[in-house]
Symmetry: D2
């Protein structure tokens, strides 16, 4: 996403959030099915809180929409005061969805007035950051809603989707990359999060990267080979997790009369052999790779291999809300961008020379650099303009409710 | 409640449930703030499920409203199949409130057709039981909503209530009852739950019962006397509970600038000295009694003392949704009925000769006869016609979200 | 136990505690396998702490054995100051077992000097109470040790026991008792705990009591009839407990090659058909009774029926440490005393007019009168002189590590 | 440790384990104070199990000491069958300490006979690995015992230690290292664990490393500056952990009459200003570094800076069992080896080209490569011959019971 015309981009991004909620009732928008997930209404409000608190509240003449919202919709910014407890975001019927929409209008007027008046560069930076922030929450609106809907015995559809026949699967090939001193990370004037900087040197040994993500058919073979009952394939914490939680397969997979089905935002659907497997934890991705005689790539390997690769996977704009079969790979591996987030073996850690943003914005990324692993490439729920080669997503190794899948690597 | 004209009563009771939800939005009706509490929408649906499953589904020609509802809205009847997990009642945005209302209309048509066609006595018994069941859930709609609203920093009001000045408090007097062989429990043709039967003999020693419930002012004196920090006043389990949960006073009390306030369904309000204290656990009621040099009554003592007493407390029909100051006592103790449920020292146990209802209805009461204590008399949220002298309500000793208070006794 | 010669009794009871520990190593005596159970060493020390703190520490010239023991070995007396946390009793290797024995000698000298000098009646009362207290802990030494040993894959024997062939089982007969106003509880000058007083009137309806406890063979039939998978037989809390904990049968039962075995203090042994079933929770006892078309007795029924019954069961003095086959019943039901504690349906509650002992001793019993049920009659681990007809033991409904069994009743 | 004469080394290492337990009673050796820690007796047995299971049990003529020990003393080797549950290692009074010692003798005879008979190289490799394994457990005997003793109100001493006066603290200086492509990891024929291999290239930016570990005095200043109440200094997971667990300072620190004391294996002692701070979690080390305007080193930085550094810190052979004041730094930073393990910012992950050992030994290290961070350098409880520059220790970020401290770095 570039800030060619910031006000216009602002309008587009803000409208996109609301478009995602258009098919939903107020009750749908209030669901919270686990502490890690938030109601869609909360996402709509919190993204507005971000603009209000970080760009508007200190402006002369700006009147906050509601005095309680500063606490209610603060996610985790300790330097900005108290926060409503995260696990209790679903216990808020008030403000109503209509009130939250009015809150959005109020903030929109403030931001557009600010931009119209010729905002200083620092304020423009905050607005731009707020738009990238809002795009992150657009993806979360979908992942969190999918989780909540999946807990209903009705398995409701977000949007009905006509079944499509499975097609042929691209053969798995290996793209070789030679050893050498490389550079990763973001440099230059374009937008990037602080955690993508600075661009820095890293030595990468020779490796090969798979030409496409692992498919449902391949993963099903792992499951049917007893993958979930063989501790030697798993990290110790991974096997303890699957034992404690009773995992038998990826999140949302269900067996119905001997057939594998999966819950999608289009409702329950038979598992398609040609689609990338998704909703996997890092532990499952790692175990599958070991079973397959391969491994997960490091984030440096991924980024090096992605140099020059096209955005040839599916993004949120397709309206499919589900990963699609991978296209054929050419010079580069296919579907590095879009469809499924790809787990790497890299802990989410600061780059050498990392400097968090100043002030409260320093809490955006840096304080989460523990107990998480990096995922790369974006998914079928990511806005196309949001992703970059240097983009670092991160989740704990047991998280499964994102559209997360597997790209294999080997020495 | 008598079944003079069952169809007419049916219409009244069903309408009363919906009237309670009239001031609420669909989002309000979907809130579940703890596993013990349920969304108002669930209560509306479950009470209909009760009629559908127990009175309608076997009738020729009756078509269930939705195939999934039999599981979704089964509360705890193991003999009627699977149940949607209780802690997840709040994760259901579908069916919508409108669909649940349509479900109610569908069931209403079925029941009224059944009654109109001259239902057999056994079917009439089930319908009558279903109405008493629905009245129980009317009270729970209010207690559960109050709990959910209390978790919002906005402390929203269910219905705005104009502040009323506190009045004088009736002096506490003691009503003496002599020792003797008495009878308690329900007999006769009128409706009563199975747990109130059979009427049976019990020997009661001489005792005295307080003329009115304990007031906020009296309980505040206990709090200010260090009541919550003196283990010698508490049952061992009670002190462990208050220590683990950090209780400093009754549920919903808050200190604001040195003054005691409480959350009510009319919003936050200064604590009124003349109102009965409420939202207490059994542990707190027991500790207060010990501090006051008294004790809680047994349920037999309560029932004996209530013989001939008037329904002079406030019920749900007052629209106050909060206990009011006790009237003056005459020959009998005042406010035995209404305002606050009164904790007894009696474990909820079967009466001698207890026989549960036949079939699935046997699960209504009997299987809960462990780890609970009996409360008597009804509250400000109880329908006036619902309560009886022999009525046994029951909750675990740490439950506080009902309108539960204290009536003292002594030897 | 009578205080004919208090000093002589003191010597006997104290010696009996140590005799129980004689077969054990210091490591055995330090085991704590769950928060509810304590190491044998702790029991040896705590019973001495009781005498030291309540009878000796205020005497002129008495020097406490060790300044830290007052906290270390205080069980739950809040009025006597801080307590070492109960779940951490097993994390104390110091004091050693030898030091605890020296502590016992030190306290013994103090008590015997006190008695020798002509102790006032009030001091004699405390010593007598301390001896009954110590006998309670003698039983706990065995129950707690059995639990700890059972957690070892070696299933060690406390004392080897030669296998004995099973004999014929006495047929189950019913002893009828007519309705009437009765008296229960203890009166008179002999020792009894405060919770057994005062003797008081209670109206008991006509009932029948089984001639002997339920046997292993009978209980096994319940298990094989799917008893643990049929929720309609269980209290709701009971079925939730068995589901959460995965109970498939009584504590200590194991299936080995299709045969039922059980762990005993003599090691693993095939289940004997003729022995009373034991190590049951109240929930299991209640479910069995329902399955058998009967119910558990109330404690009043039990006490009324036990009037005149002989102590014809086995006690700790047999050295068997396991319940034995019931003798034939005569005029009274057999084995009411000894072999297995018999769960009643009565909540542990104060008798009418109950007065706890004065001072710290008031914490002995009264504060535990919630969430527990009464058991009657003593077990194979109870000292014979310790038990009485009015004796009230009490445990939570899910407790299974005592020798607790079933005596059926019916209307 | 070199295998100059393997049999002689075997005798020395085995004897060292038992020497550590010499001051302990059998009760001391049976303590387990948390699931992460194990009894000393278990360590003595498990290290023998390692030799028996991996080097002896397949030899013709070898008779295992006890059939149950294969499960009882298996730590976590899934490929070697079932394991006694880790949290229940303290519930084993049998086998006794004497029996475990006999087990050790039995295994010793087997190993020495094997070596004497001219063991093949592969068997010698396993024995050598077993000795390094046993040295790791020697350190754990001390850390686990310290934790267990600290839970006793008596705070017993493992070995009495005469107080020594604090001396002057070496000033903190910075050692600069230039950017460049370096090599880390182990190469060559000497022993190293699989996780230290292969030696590989890594690009390291210019950095500076502190001349000595952070002292108690420096850390106390952080505590007194409100370090534990300022979320902006902490990783998000770290602040959540300290809030949940109520941390106010390092493990084992206690305030007594306004003075800072700490528990040591010599008993309680006033905090010495000149000693390195220890028993810190990664979260605390990271927060201190942020407060101090610095950061933790990566493991590559640490290893590069340690090239050529002397083993000038204290090891277990000093008999001090506590870190000592750092010596003066010369050309290299001081005390890189010994005294305290130094937290790095590096996740414990496989080196490029990592290959676990074949067979069951592959479970030794590789499966723990998640959710842990690398520590470097050894501690006051590490055998001097055990540590190497390439040695990678690893613990979860909240672990505090090792002698873990802080070495600062900066860009």
């Amino acid at each position: 996403m570039r800030a060619m015309d910031l006000a216009e981009t602002y309008r587009e991004v803000r409208a996109a959030s609301e478009a995602l909620c258009a098919p939903l009732s107020p009750e749908d928008c209030a669901l919270q099915s686990m502490p890690d997930a938030s109601p869609a209404k909360w996402h709509l409000a919190h993204t507005s809180w971000f603009f209000e608190t970080l760009a508007l509240e200190d402006l002369p003449g700006y009147a906050p929409f509601h005095p309680a919202f500063r606490v209610l919709f603060n996610s985790y910014y300790q330097s900005l005061g108290a926060q409503h407890p995260r696990p209790e975001r679903g216990v808020l019927s008030r403000p109503s969805l209509d009130e939250v929409r009015a809150y959005r209008r109020h903030v929109d007027r403030g931001i557009l007035r600010l931009l119209d008046a010729g905002a200083p560069a620092s304020a423009q930076d905050v607005v731009l950051l707020g738009l990238h922030h809002e795009q992150q929450h657009q993806e979360l609106i979908l992942t969190d809603l999918k989780h909540a809907f999946s807990r209903s015995p009705l398995r409701p559809a977000y949007r009905e989707r006509a079944p499509e026949p499975a097609g042929p699967v691209q053969p798995l090939r290996w793209h070789a990359v030679g050893a050498g001193l490389r550079e990763i990370g973001h440099a230059g004037p374009d937008f990037a999060f602080d955690n993508e900087r600075p661009r820095h040197r890293v030595f990468v040994e020779a490796f090969e990267l798979a030409s496409r993500p692992v498919t449902n058919a391949e993963y099903l073979a792992f499951v049917r080979d007893g993958g979930y009952a063989r501790p030697e394939l798993w990290l110790s914490d991974g096997f303890a997790t699957l034992s404690a939680l009773g995992w038998k397969g990826p999140l949302y997979w269900e067996e119905r009369e001997g057939e594998a089905w999966t819950y999608t935002l289009g409702g329950m659907a038979p598992l398609r052999a040609d689609e990338p497997v998704c909703h996997l934890s890092h532990y499952e991705a790692d175990a599958y790779a070991r079973w397959a005689g391969a491994r997960l790539p490091t984030e440096a390997e991924w980024e090096v291999a992605a140099e020059g690769a096209a955005r040839d996977g599916g993004f949120v704009e397709t309206g499919r809300f589900h990963p699609g079969p991978s296209p054929a790979a050419g010079e580069h591996p296919a579907a590095l961008f879009g469809d499924v987030w790809e787990w790497t073996s890299s802990a989410y850690a600061p780059y050498p020379g990392f400097r968090p943003l100043a002030g409260s914005l320093g809490e955006y990324n840096g304080k989460f650099m523990s107990n998480q692993l990096v995922l790369r490439g974006g998914s079928c729920a990511t806005p196309r303009r949001h992703i970059r080669r240097s983009y670092r997503n991160f989740f704990p190794p047991d998280a499964r409710w994102q559209w997360s899948g597997i790209r294999l690597a080997r020495d």
